[in-house]
């Protein structure tokens, strides 16, 4: 290998492959964070379902959807990698006649899906089919995310050093559309009709504990702006 005249070759190579290494490490960390969040959301879905099954006395299908920003090595200040996690639990817990309900908890808001009266396989004493309220099912979801992000960096230099101030503002509005349908056919047959879409519009806000959350209530009135700033000084 002829190295003559090739100064700082390893440094140059690292500059090229270093970014690749950072991306790989970043992906590893994101994966770990995702595992954690998915576990938490699945556990919460189960607990919500247990509570609802107890109060509703019946079969409950509960889905939790949570939007959360993950730490991102390549991301900018206060603009995390926006991610969505979901968990689901179905529980039958009833005494006597059971009811069937379906819930969606999207971040802070709980939505019960519409129920439609449906003929069951059972007949009453008159020979008519017994009717029962049955929740619609979600066959597709659409998400729209509108983000406004602004970052400002200011440097003030004096005789003793430099003071750097970095600040950022973030507005985020998520619109989730749950496409629902209803199976009119009895038994295992399928005959679907579209039901009303469920539209959930939520805005980002900072709660009293300093955590970033989304809720429908935050969208009422002026959209909240989340801010973050940091300052450091380099002395010489």
């Amino acid at each position: 290998m002829h190295l003559h005249g090739k100064k700082a070759q390893a440094t140059t190579e690292l500059a090229i492959f270093g970014s690749l290494i950072l991306v790989i490490f970043g992906a590893l960390l994101s994966y770990g964070q995702r595992l954690n969040e998915e576990q938490a959301v699945t556990m919460d879905a189960f607990r919500y379902a247990v509570q609802r099954a107890g109060t509703d006395n019946g079969f409950v299908d509960y889905t939790v959807i949570k939007n959360k920003g993950l730490y991102d090595l390549m991301g900018s200040f206060l603009n995390p990698q926006s991610s969505s996690f979901s968990g689901n639990a179905s529980i039958l817990w009833a005494k006597g006649e059971s009811d069937s309900r379906s819930y969606y908890r999207v971040n802070d808001d709980e939505i019960e899906l519409q129920r439609i009266e449906k003929d069951t396989d059972q007949d009453d004493e008159n020979g008519d089919a017994v009717k029962k309220d049955t929740p619609v099912e979600v066959w597709d979801t659409e998400t729209q995310d509108v983000t406004h992000y602004a970052e400002n960096t200011a440097k003030a230099e004096d005789g003793a050093g430099i003071t750097t101030t970095q600040s950022a503002e973030l507005q985020d509005r998520i619109t989730l559309v749950l496409k629902t349908r209803f199976n009119e056919a009895k038994g295992d047959n399928e005959s679907y009709v579209d039901a009303d879409d469920v539209v959930v519009e939520q805005c980002l806000y900072r709660d009293e504990n300093g955590k970033l959350r989304y809720s429908q209530a935050a969208c009422s009135g002026a959209q909240p702006t989340v801010t973050k700033s940091q300052r450091w000084r380099t002395a010489w």
Binding site: L3, H4, G5, K6, K7, A8, Q9, A10, T11, L14, I21, F25, L28, L29, G32, Q33, L35, N36, Q39, A40, M43, D44, R47, Y48, V50, Q51, R52, G54, T55
Partner: protein
């Protein structure tokens, strides 16, 4: 220009150290995530019965009611030391809702023994039993 021999090798050595340190830092963060998953599972199982027997049913027993992630600190990344859970949520009905990490378990055993021992020291009784059996055979 003076010929600089093995410059690439020298630079690679320096950079390699930086990469390895960085890798160890990432591994510690991974371990922290791992401990969180184990802690959360442990807490979830401890509160399982209460979640079902919850008489009020005004609200479900959720993770945020009884579990707080251990803080990720510089000590965790650089020294591998895990902080205990931040609040009293780490205890539920008198039971610890966070697991003890391997290092903590070893430290506990050292404290109980009242002296510093290596982890392998705790396997000594097995050896003693073997010696007893050997003696009895004789």
């Amino acid at each position: 220009m003076v010929r600089e021999r093995a410059q690439v090798t020298l630079e690679a050595c320096l950079i390699f150290v930086a990469i390895v340190l960085f890798l160890f830092g990432i591994m510690q963060v991974w371990l922290w995530l791992d401990v969180n998953i184990a802690d959360r599972s442990h807490s979830f199982n401890l509160t399982r019965l209460d979640a079902g027997n919850n008489p009020d049913r005004e609200a479900p027993i959720l993770l945020e009611d009884y579990y707080t992630a251990r803080p990720l600190t510089e000590d965790t990344v650089f020294n591998g030391e895990f902080s205990p859970p931040e609040t009293l949520k780490g205890e539920y009905n008198g039971l610890e809702t966070s697991i003890r990490t391997y290092k903590e378990q070893v430290a506990d055993r050292r404290n109980l023994a009242g002296q510093k021992k290596r982890f392998s020291d705790y396997h000594k009784p097995k050896k003693d039993n073997q010696e007893e059996r050997d003696n009895s055979e004789e």
